[in-house]
Symmetry: C2
Subunit: 152 residues, 2 copies
DNA sequence: CTCGGAATGTAGCCTAGGCTACACTCTGTT
DNA sequence: AACAGAGTGTAGCCTAGGCTACATTCCGAG
């Protein structure tokens, strides 16, 4: 999980073998995907809460185009990860961590879409591709995007 | 699967409900991920065949940082999808389709990395992020990237 | 106040992608 | 020629993310 953290966040540095530059890239890209879903959920829930005031499993499922059971299962994961809270039949809410994640995800999404548009990508494709791309944009890359947009 | 197809490739157009712009984006991004792995495998196999002349399961596994059994399973998928052929203990080879896919993937990868570098992303991050990003770049977006690189 | 339909939740099944453990080639030495 | 060790392949297990089918709870009309 975890969107590019703005804060330092000391990681264990996993540098045991000290070489697998080759393999680690693939692994990173692969595991980024596990978390992409959570990020999307958190963002949507945040949107729903902000606008309508309610985030119900059925709404979420409809938005993502999945069965409600699938949404409920994922909401369960969100709870396990400490990103959301939900009591049966009472709707879903974000924890503080979830809120922060949502904010970062939303900001990153906007930057990615803006960048694509700035590069001349058609609006429809920009929105569509950004959905997949955003989850693989690191801090460094995001910063570069922002710099470019701020005029380069 | 399928990298942005240069050829037309008439798709069934799945436009039954005629509206779910919302949901379809997520679905597209999600299913793009299923295929990303195959694309990476095909590209690596192509590389191995081009350079050393041999693509053995163990080499592939080592490069991706996974167990050899995992690589073998994925090679099985490659065969099912008609992208590769392999006889027991004889190494893996690409079909014509696999070769074409590899070429397209490689070209796309280069464009994505070049774009990131052009935008000022540090080399290491560019390589790393491109690995995840490339699988979500549509034809339209790829074309825009190329246009930008060719000077815009 | 009750009843029916919609929303929720649960259970079970499937595939992809990982892993470990175990079995079976292959091959390069002796 | 035979054998050890590397490379291959198979089986079985796990999680994430989908689905369908079924059960439960809520709530707004009557």
């Amino acid at each position: 999980m975890s969107v590019p953290s703005v804060a330092p966040s000391i990681q264990p540095a996993q540098a045991l073998p000290a070489e697998p530059t080759q393999a680690s890239r693939f692994g990173k890209a692969r595991s980024a995907q596990s978390g992409a879903l959570l990020e999307d959920y958190v963002e949507l829930i945040s949107d729903l809460l902000a606008s309508g005031g309610e985030a119900r499993p059925t709404d979420i499922a409809r938005r993502f185009g999945v069965a409600h059971a699938t949404a409920i299962k994922t909401i369960g994961r969100l709870k396990r990860e400490g990103l959301a809270v939900a009591k049966p039949y009472r709707g879903v809410f974000l924890t503080e961590a979830g809120d922060h994640l949502a904010a970062r995800v939303r900001a990153r999404h906007r930057v990615v879409v803006d960048l694509l548009l700035a590069l001349g990508v058609p609006c429809e494709a920009a929105e569509s591709d950004a959905e997949g791309i955003e989850h693989h944009v690191s801090d460094a890359t995001l910063a570069a995007f922002a710099r470019f947009l701020a005029q380069g």
